[in-house]
């Protein structure tokens, strides 16, 4: 079978096909199409929500309850520490218990749910979901200032819940009532509710209840000056409960808890009546949009090292306008944390650094703490796995209005996780060129890993660092104002197509990997080390081989975990080898990384001539803007060289620029040594609280207060103190360790101070 067709018709048909193909493939760019899909899914979400609401409205009462449960209450927690997708604070970001999985069902905000939740509380059966609904409503009404309505909702829900069947859900409701009463300053009601709570729990073992309750009661005790009575009350109640339990473990738990509560209360009430503070603020985005119904947590310093839990006392929710408030907060150091749903933080960042954001309450009447989210920065180059083959690497990003300078971070993938470090600070333009050699010289934190029961191994990726042409690298920037405040950053939640456009990944293929590199990557550390050595012997100017020898030695030192004599000697020998290599390296390519290393080494050796030489060299080539650490360290070096006046200048500079005030201890010692009184020291310690050891908070102010107490009546106290500080200055650490004043010597606080001093740095 054949068909007859004219050439022109063949051409017309082909033309038509071509138009169709081009039209389908290139009519819209992939990015455009993705963005459309995004808008589409948002629209779909809104439609789905409306559809759900319509079906609830149209349903019969029984069916209605079921639908409300299904769409608004199931799997939803009314506990703020578990309600949100993510929790962020100055210390970083964390997920709620559900790992990295996020619910993508259409999300109702609290306001949309209110009429349905009210219906549920009014008509729902005896079910823990009633408690969830009532608590959510209580947060809503509390936020809009309708306290009575909030407490009425809780009361209604309590009536619905069976008294013995749902003790836990009932407890939660009563706790919420306690919280409302405490915030409203209705202390009679607070006591009544506390009694009610204990009555309800008399057959149940729940030591946490007392811990939580005691926090609210402490507020009452402080305001009314009734600490002894309250303490007595808690004690009696706890002892009663303790008697009822036969489980020895629970019994001990009670004892511990009671001790803890006693300690806290007596500490808080030691200075007599203390004023409480009202902490208020708003959470908004820089475009003015409020962050509504977000979780707000005012966390105590001692809670900063664990994830948020229910027993922490100050937890609330923002209202429709993004406003929050905590009434009656006890004195202390706090940090603000937020609970957010993905859609609230996507594309935005809360610009706050780990060491910043401390809220110190000392009985001020009011403190305002506002949070403003800023849009994430946009990165331009290198992105999307660009391959860099030049000798220098140019980074470029979109400038931020009001930014005085930027800090550049570069990171790499490791066997387990990733590492990142700041490679340049104080960049004044939105574009910077970094010689690739400067990246090769970075020591990116040698890390190790182990698979199950296997021996701990060094991660070759961390050893080879940026010289690895096969590893994927990433980067990010932070923008700062002239006074050093973080304005915004590029790292954050990028969960829609317009935000994933430029992925900040690149490869460095400027150099070729040597055989030694390949051997190292295959995991043969010793063989690779020998090969690097051979390379360096063959060509004494082979910087890469020298640098790798240095890094491998660093890794070997890391694997030595013991601190016995043999281990210490091995470490010393390895360090001496490193110094030899470093001295060759700085001849070839002087950078602050190597100079810093040498100055640190000589610092530890107390070889001040060499230390001073390398310190000066570090300063001459440094690319860092924040010198608070090196200033503090240099302060110690000068102190130990018996140059107290110069040391004071550096310490001052350090504590003023470092929000963690990590060198305050040595600064205090210097002041006391130079003849300042303990009172002057106390003032200084109060001005610069130590935030460095927050896992084991070191309160220098309290330490000095204790010293002051033990110094009363002792004329030679300050002379003894000066003698001990002199031992520290002269590096006679062993002698200091041997000094063990007995408990009745009246020098225990001083001993504590000296021990703490040796930990600074």
């Amino acid at each position: 079978m054949k068909i007859r067709i004219k050439v022109k018709h063949v051409v017309y048909i082909l033309g038509l096909f071509l138009v169709l193909i081009v039209g389908l493939n290139y009519g819209t760019s992939p990015a455009q199409r993705m963005a459309e899909a995004d808008r589409g899914s948002r629209q779909a979400d809104a439609e789905k929500k409306e559809e759900i609401l319509r079906s609830i409205d149209a349903a019969k009462p029984d069916e209605k309850l079921k639908l409300i449960e299904e769409h608004m209450l199931n799997d939803r927690s009314s506990n703020l520490p578990r309600m949100y997708d993510v929790y962020i604070g100055p210390g970083g970001t964390m997920f709620s218990g559900r790992s990295m999985e996020v619910d993508t069902r259409p999300e109702f905000n609290l306001k949309e749910m209110v009429p349905y939740l009210e219906f549920y509380v009014q008509s729902g059966s005896s079910d823990p979901d009633v408690s969830t609904a009532a608590k959510l409503l209580a947060y809503y009404y509390e936020g809009s200032g309708q306290w009575d309505k909030a407490s009425q909702m809780l009361e209604n829900a309590l009536e619905r819940l069976h008294i013995t069947q749902y003790t836990y859900a009932r407890n939660e409701l009563i706790f919420m009532q306690v919280k409302l009463a405490a915030e409203q300053g209705q202390y009679d009601e607070l006591l009544q509710l506390s009694e009610k709570l204990i009555q309800e729990n008399k057959n149940q073992v729940n030591p946490d209840t007392m811990a939580q309750l005691s926090e609210y009661l402490a507020q009452y005790a402080l305001v009314k000056g009734k600490a002894p009575e309250v303490l007595k009350w808690i004690q009696t109640k706890m002892e009663q409960q303790q008697k009822q339990t036969t489980d020895e473990r629970v019994h001990n738990l009670y004892t511990d808890q009671l001790m803890e509560i006693q300690n806290r209360l007596s500490k808080l009430t030691s200075g007599g009546k203390k004023a409480l503070t009202e902490v208020t603020g708003t959470i908004t985005k820089s475009n003015g949009e409020p962050v509504a119904y977000a979780g707000v947590f005012l966390r105590r310093q001692e809670d900063d090292n664990h994830s948020i839990n229910e027993s922490e006392p100050y937890q609330t929710m923002t209202n429709e306008h993004g406003e929050y408030s905590f009434e009656g907060v006890l004195p202390g150091s706090y940090k603000l944390y937020l609970g957010l749903n993905i859609s609230q933080i996507n594309g935005w960042t809360w610009p706050v650094l780990a060491d910043d954001g401390w809220i110190d309450l000392k009985g001020q009447a009011k403190v305002q703490e506002n949070v403003v989210f800023q849009p994430l920065m946009k990165l331009k180059f290198p992105v999307n796995e660009e391959v860099i083959r030049d000798k220098a690497l140019t980074f470029e990003w979109e400038p931020v209005a009001g930014a005085a300078y930027y800090n550049l971070n570069v990171g790499m993938k490791l066997k387990s996780g990733s590492s990142s470090r700041t490679v340049k600070q104080g960049i004044v333009t939105s574009r910077v060129q970094i010689p690739v050699q400067d990246l090769y010289d970075q020591i990116s934190g040698v890390s190790s890993y182990s698979n199950g029961n296997e021996k701990v191994q060094l991660d070759p990726l961390s050893l080879l660092g940026y010289a690895n042409t096969k590893n994927q690298f990433s980067w990010g920037v932070e923008a700062y104002s002239a006074d050093g405040k973080l304005l915004t950053r590029s790292d954050g939640y990028r969960l829609s197509n317009d935000l994933t456009g430029n992925l900040p990944f690149f490869y460095l293929k400027e150099r070729k990997m040597t055989d030694a590199d390949k051997t190292l990557l295959s995991g043969k550390l010793d063989k690779a080390e020998a090969m690097y050595k051979a390379d360096a012997d063959r060509d004494p100017t082979d910087m890469h081989a020298l640098h790798m020898m240095l890094t491998v030695l660093e890794g070997k030192m890391m694997l030595i975990r013991g601190d016995g004599k043999a281990d210490t000697d091995t470490k010393k020998a390895l360090e001496a080898q490193q110094v030899e290599i470093l001295e060759r390296l700085v001849e070839l390519y002087p950078t602050d990384v190597y100079y810093n290393w040498l100055s640190d080494y000589y610092f530890k050796q107390a070889d001040w001539n060499n230390y001073n030489r390398y310190y000066t060299l570090v300063k001459s080539v440094s690319r860092m803007k924040d010198n608070s650490y090196s200033d503090g360290k240099h302060g110690i070096a000068l102190m130990k060289q018996e140059k107290p006046d110069e040391a004071a200048v550096y310490f001052k500079e350090s504590v003023e620029n470092d929000s963690s005030h990590r060198f305050i201890g040595t600064y205090l010692a210097l002041h006391l040594f130079m003849g300042d009184s303990l009172d002057e020291g106390i003032q200084l310690a109060a001005k610069y609280p130590d935030r460095m050891m927050y896992n084991n908070p070191l309160n220098w102010e309290e330490l000095l207060l204790a010293m002051k107490r033990e110094s009363t009546g002792k004329r030679d106290y300050s002379a003894v103190l000066k003698d001990k500080i002199r031992l520290y200055i002269q590096g006679k650490d062993e002698e200091l360790k041997l000094w063990q004043p007995s408990a009745d010597s009246g020098l225990t606080a001083m001993k504590k101070f000296m021990d703490a001093l040796q930990q600074v740095g």
Binding site: K2, S41, A44, V102, G411, S474, Y493
Partner: protein, 115 residues
């Protein structure tokens, strides 16, 4: 020629006597094109005789091949949100992304020719 045929002929001659054929040149130009334009036009209107079965088979094979090629190389589309209740997040290079979207984006960067 018998009488009947002769009559028809006469009739035809008479009826066609008003018609004059004046396009001889045009016909010659089309049958024997000499200028470039004429030759192009003749090619444009040339009739091709194409065998249906081999040609149809070839086109069908080509379409199948193209379809399979795309089906294999195209990463799986993410399920439309709303259908999947949970979506996984990953942290990489300092930021958080939807895992499925991130992988799709990287695949596209690594194979830019596919859409």
């Amino acid at each position: 020629m018998d009488q009947g045929e002769s009559n028809v002929k006469q009739e035809l001659d008479w009826e066609l006597s008003g018609l004059q054929f004046g396009k001889q040149a045009e016909v010659i130009r089309r049958t024997h094109p000499s200028t470039l334009k004429d030759r192009l036009r003749s090619f444009w209107n040339k009739e091709l005789e194409l065998p249906v079965i081999p040609l149809g088979t070839a086109i069908a094979l080509l379409l199948t091949a193209v379809y399979l090629y795309h089906a294999v190389r195209e990463p799986k589309q993410a399920p439309v949100s709303g259908e999947a209740k949970q979506r996984e997040l990953i942290e990489t290079g300092g930021s958080f992304y939807w895992k499925d979207e991130f992988e799709r984006r990287l695949a596209r960067i690594e194979n830019p020719d596919q859409s």
